[in-house]
């Protein structure tokens, strides 16, 4: 299909979203990511049964923490789609990019720059 999606997205491949740890999500933001979204298989279709459900819980926890520390919980999201849904993948990429553009840059990144200056 050769569909185009926003160029600001960096894909990190994992064997299963069940591998995503809360710490991975937090470290992304600590290192300056503006937003992170986890794309798992459709619920009920996990080859390891509960990998994507576990990921959803971890994303929810990351949202809670980010909200409490003032970064905004919306910067991290969970999506589910099957590997054959390329148009949906593009739609999600655009949706997330728009959301992050609205939220603005990661304040940690800005604060770090300010401290370094």
């Amino acid at each position: 299909m050769r569909l185009q999606y926003p160029s600001g997205i960096r894909i990190i491949c994992l064997p299963c979203t069940g591998k995503v740890d809360l710490l991975h999500l937090l470290h992304c933001f600590e290192k300056g990511a503006d937003g992170v979204y986890v794309v798992g298989c459709l619920e009920g279709a996990c080859q390891f049964n509960t990998g994507n459900l576990r990921a959803r819980k971890r994303v929810a926890l990351a949202q809670e923490i980010l909200e409490k520390i003032g970064l905004g919980g919306d910067r991290v999201q969970m999506y589910n789609l099957s590997s054959s849904e390329a148009p949906r993948f593009v739609q999600i990429a655009e949706e997330m990019t728009q959301k992050i553009l609205k939220l603005g840059p990661n304040p940690i990144k800005l604060a770090r720059r300010k401290m370094a200056a």
Partner: protein
């Protein structure tokens, strides 16, 4: 094991105000098993706090370490050489560890990062429940291995109260009546005669009523 739960991050932030170099100190024992204060929780909290303070424009240095235990001298000694470089230590161990640290390192504020709850079991991952209150005088031999001191809301020692209904306690329909479980198990064991045995009035002085407790064993004492 000792079961603890993480304090809300807002509360932790409040206690850390004014400190610029903080050590978050985990414990590899009970709090690791109940996922409240092990190496992983230390890393998560440290990351969240670093981001919080940076977002506030404050230069707060947060470092991480996890000891094998915080309730033994030899493990606490591991931080002796470095503890003075911190303004405060946030311990994710149970209240025992926090206090032992505080007793050992007089010049560094030691702050708690978890709320210590009870001595209990892992029913399943994410679910822990109480089993022992350390009353100092175990009666499990006569109660089919089920403790009425920790599991009966009224700590009754000779059968259920009138609040036991359909096997549940009157305080909450989710809470099983300890005496129902005891009787069911005595039946299974064919030892209902134990139920007839009158447990005498308990001497609560071996529990908290007698003040802080201590066990001294001369045979192993160095």
């Amino acid at each position: 094991m000792i079961v603890a739960k993480q304090k809300p991050i807002e509360e932790i932030i409040e206690t850390l105000k004014g400190y610029n170099k903080i050590l978050i100190l985990g414990c590899n024992e009970c709090v690791t098993v109940c996922e409240a204060g092990g190496k992983k929780e230390v890393a998560v909290l440290a990351s969240a706090l670093r981001m919080y303070f940076m977002n506030q424009g404050q230069e707060v240095k947060i470092e991480e370490a996890t000891l094998e235990r915080q309730c033994d001298h030899e493990y606490l000694e591991e931080i002796r050489k470095t503890v003075d470089q911190y303004d405060a230590v946030l311990s994710l161990a149970c209240g025992v560890g926090v206090q032992f640290l505080a007793e050992k390192y007089m010049h560094t504020p030691i702050l708690p990062g978890v709320d210590t709850c009870f001595m209990g079991v892992t029913e399943e991952r994410g679910v822990w429940s109480e089993r022992c209150q350390g009353c100092g005088q175990c009666i499990l031999a006569w109660t089919a291995g089920i403790c009425p001191v920790s599991r009966c809301a009224k700590r009754l020692l000779n059968g259920p109260c009138g609040g036991s209904s359909k096997g549940k306690c009157e305080i909450n329909k989710e809470v099983p009546c300890a005496w129902q479980i005891i009787i069911d198990r005595l039946n299974e064991l064919g030892r209902m005669e134990d139920y007839e045995r009158l447990i005498p009035i308990k001497d609560w002085s071996t529990e908290r009523a007698g003040g802080p407790r201590k066990v001294v064993r001369e045979d192993v004492r160095s």
